[in-house]
Symmetry: C2
DNA sequence: GGTATTGTTCGATCGATATCGTACCAGCTA
DNA sequence: TAGCTGGTACGATATCGATCGAACAATACC
């Protein structure tokens, strides 16, 4: 079975989107962070690259958060030249935990709290 | 230094149920633990006391988890003699984050994983 | 009164993780 | 070719939190 046929250039399409949606605890843990929550809100509104966030962390920390979200099966990333386009895996998430993402995205945004 | 003299009528009625539902991050963090998830599932099915759980932790750890859930506004506890009856604050939670509790409770139960 | 039951609190331990800085790598672009 | 940009990898640090045991408190029961 073809792993990922992204239409030609699959230089990075290998394991970036192949993570299945993780267990409930893992997913909740991935969501239970203000930075990641901000990421998901922004990405859910419109897929974007790492540069498109205004969270007050360095890019290495941002990369770490992306990995956590990716490994929880919440987001997927697609190479776009030198950039990486991040998007929420709405369908898979909805299939695994119906209503969860919806209820979280529709919750009021908390003000950024130092942690 | 004795003479606390609290009168003895309502030792626990005060702040055990008065916590408002916390912010989304706090609530998700409170939910993102297998032990607490098990507690909530059990309590949601039927309010019960601390002894009514089969989680593999000591009672002090259990007490800690109850405090976290209580302070997140997810559960409330009522004194019942020497016992404490715990129940989920469904209405308040539903008002704060519609659909959240529902989606979590209806998710498949993960097998207990060592953490 | 004395004992058992139920639960909290405190101190200690120990693993998880959020964060940063630096180095590094892969594509663009001049 | 070199430089620039977006992103990852790795090591170090520091804080958070889950866990336990022991001590304590309050009520029920004999």
């Amino acid at each position: 079975m073809g792993a990922v046929t992204e239409g030609g250039d699959d230089l990075c399409g290998g394991d970036l989107g192949s993570h299945p949606v993780a267990g409930l605890t893992t997913v909740l843990q991935a969501l239970a962070d203000p930075v990641r929550l901000a990421i998901i809100r922004a990405v859910a509104a419109e897929p974007r690259t790492c540069g498109g966030f205004d969270v007050p962390v360095t890019k290495s920390t941002l990369s770490h958060h992306f990995r956590v979200l990716r490994e929880a099966g919440i987001i997927e990333q697609r190479c776009e030249g030198t950039r990486k386009l991040t998007s929420v895996r709405r369908a898979e998430l909805e299939a695994a935990y119906p209503g969860l993402l919806e209820s979280i995205l529709s919750a009021p945004v908390e003000e950024a709290a130092a942690r």
